[in-house]
Symmetry: C2
Subunit: 424 residues, 2 copies
């Protein structure tokens, strides 16, 4: 673990902030072709440095095993030739994505002749705070870079050697094609206080993106002086309406719960209209139980499942299990379903299964979530699945970016106004 004396730490992070701001000015002037050439050189350098990166990773793995981390946690840390090739490939993919910077978003002429243009520009300097997985270093940095932003990255202490090796490869590869110095900086200290210093330096950082557990996000939110984009929870619901195609509903529910239960867009709470609850649960409930799902239900659910479910308690409606556990409940109406989701949900991704278009439209309009689905799995709430080509995260905030965030969401705008001497 690398630490620094308290006063040095703050000074060091402030220095990185000033360097990032200077780099951001240079980045804003790069053309799309220059940025893409830099990205390809970064990808090449990651592959060229495979031995150093894997050696650094081996040090992290050894430390993690010594510290007694679970095998799942150690696996998240681990890099190998194949995983590193995927990291480099991700960088190449970003080079192939369209560059939103410079886009003319709108333009108009005022009666006094002033011509106003609204154009897309980089945000400036973005801070990314993340935990464990070392590939985030590259994924986050290159998305920010493609959109002309400088980044300051602060990874978890478990991956510090891997993160340093990857950041060094990005900087060295990029430099060969003219990457401005300090465009991508990794904080080399793992002190917890570095999060505080980042979150407070709003003279340099325009945005901070915490990626990790609720504790990390809570800390960043309570300290930050600049905008934070985040999601705390993905408590995603599927409501099976009385007019649902029950076979379709079963397939959607099983998929949303079991295909990858550890992710934020997986199903956590099932709501079923009382009229079809028994029929649906006897069939779909059985399929879920066979897939290894523990069901926690209300009385209707318990009765339909004949002992294959446990009683749900209030806490179940607000829990993101990220596991093969499902809260389930009968509701009396579409209104009840909407009320339940708006009250207990996390405003992430929710679904209605129904053949009734009027019910679907009401659900889509009234559910206050980033993404609302009709007749499809919540697992599609994802930048790749939206066709964005990449994703830096999913926002449950309502300001600036909501839902999957990709390149466009890493930009701001400004107004350019041409006049001929207009005065007021």
């Amino acid at each position: 673990m690398t630490t620094a004396a308290a006063t040095d730490l703050k000074a060091e992070i402030l220095k990185m902030g000033a360097q990032a701001l200077a780099a951001s000015r240079a980045l804003a002037k790069l053309t799309t072709d220059q940025k893409n050439a830099i990205l390809l050189a970064m990808a090449d350098e990651i592959l060229a440095r495979e031995p150093e990166i894997l050696e650094a990773n081996a040090r992290d793995i050894a430390a993690a095993e010594e510290a007694g981390l679970t095998s799942a946690m150690v696996d998240r840390l681990r890099l190998d030739g194949k995983r590193l090739a995927a990291v480099a490939d991700g960088v190449r993919q970003v080079a192939n994505l369209p560059d939103p910077v410079g886009e003319l978003m709108d333009e108009w002429t005022r009666p006094n002749g002033l011509h106003i243009q609204k154009i897309r520009v980089p945000i400036g300097v973005i801070g990314i705070i993340f935990e464990s997985r070392p590939n985030v270093t590259s994924d986050a940095a290159v998305l920010c870079f493609k959109t002309g932003n400088a980044t300051i990255l602060r990874g978890g202490k478990e991956a510090i050697h891997s993160n340093k090796a990857i950041a060094a490869a990005l900087a060295a590869g990029g430099a060969r094609q003219g990457l401005p110095e300090y465009s991508i900086q990794l904080i080399p200290f793992t002190d917890r206080e570095s999060v505080r210093h980042m979150a407070q330096m709003d003279q340099y950082l325009d945005l901070i993106v915490p990626r990790g557990g609720k504790g990390l996000i809570e800390t960043v939110v309570s300290l930050a002086r600049m905008p934070v984009i985040k999601h705390y929870d993905g408590i995603c619901h599927t409501y099976v309406d009385k007019d649902a195609d029950l076979e379709m509903a079963k397939a959607i529910v099983v998929n949303a719960k079991t295909q990858k239960p550890s992710v934020c867009n997986a199903l956590e709470t099932l709501l079923v209209h009382r009229d079809i609850a028994d029929a649906f649960l006897r069939d779909a409930g059985k399929a879920l139980v066979e897939a290894g799902v523990e069901i926690r239900g209300d009385d209707t659910v318990l009765a339909a499942l004949d002992g294959d479910a446990k009683p749900a308690v209030e806490e179940d409606w607000t829990t993101e299990y990220l596991d093969l556990i499902l809260a389930a409940k009968a509701v009396d109406s579409l209104d009840d379903a909407i009320d339940h989701i708006n009250t207990y949900g996390s405003h992430h991704s929710d679904c209605i299964v129904t053949r009734n278009d009027a019910a679907a439209e009401r659900f889509l309009q009234e559910i206050d979530s980033a993404t609302v689905f009709h007749n499809s799995s919540t697992r599609f709430s994802d930048g790749e699945e939206f066709g964005f080509g990449a994703e830096i995260g999913i926002s449950t905030d309502k300001l600036h970016a909501r839902g999957p965030m990709a390149l466009k969401e890493l930009t701001s705008y400004k107004y350019l106004i041409h006049g001929t001497g207009q005065i007021k």
Copy 2:
């Protein structure tokens, strides 16, 4: 002054938050016609209650005079029949503006058949914290209402009686046309702690907008757990290039400095290319001095103005005078001008005066400010002047909203996805 016991205050504000959240769900369902009918009823009620509102205002004025406020401050507080008619007229104008809520911002179909729509929705609950002028109560509340947002308003203690009377008129008038209860709430306490409680309740407030002095904004930024949209300063520059039309430059500089010096888009720092500094300053400087402007300049400026200027100190480059004072300086090049503005400016509104289109384009691209002008006064940095029809403020932030903020900037979006049983 109205105060509350500390525990009651927090409970009371949390209760208002929960009420606002419930109101926001009802507001999101109103049609544009319903909202417009409510707005017109609000305007009528403000006029109908003129005697009560002016009586409440008289109590504020008496308290202000007793407390020894300056006559300028007392005048900002004062309402009369004409000013109240203007408030009501402002509400009617908002009824006439197009409603951005429900706008289909984008839509596309994925290869798997999922149809994705991005639609504009209200943000939810917006907190507005403002100082002195009572008309802000109405201006801010109706813009938020038109976009389907609930508001919690916290005005300054000097205008508490006027604010209460205006908020009561809006609520009563609106109620006649179906305004959901608690859509517009004014915090009836003037304790400073109420700002803290508002800024911390991110379970209810989606956004907080502080309007007032730097001290107020600093406090809100340091306490807030939700996004804050604000501007600290308007340190606006005009750069007179060597290729400027000097008559046009003089008119723009005099207008931007003197037409209304107390506002955020007024000129604060003049930069002049060294090649034309002497010629320009001898003419335009004289015009400024005749208009009552105190000039604080560097050596070039002092020499050109023959004793009509004072020496500038470092602090002058970062001061928002909001008064008839101008910092002025010669620069060696376009690059020097850009560097000065990006270093000392507040990223609000800056202008280049030149006949050289290439220089103008570089300036517009490279100045990192919300609004960048070519050959026109920075005084046009304003929602009305942009054609937005209204303005809730000007943002120097880069996230969500930058520059003049009107109705569109008071909305968020969500994704509606229609499928036919797609699973992953």
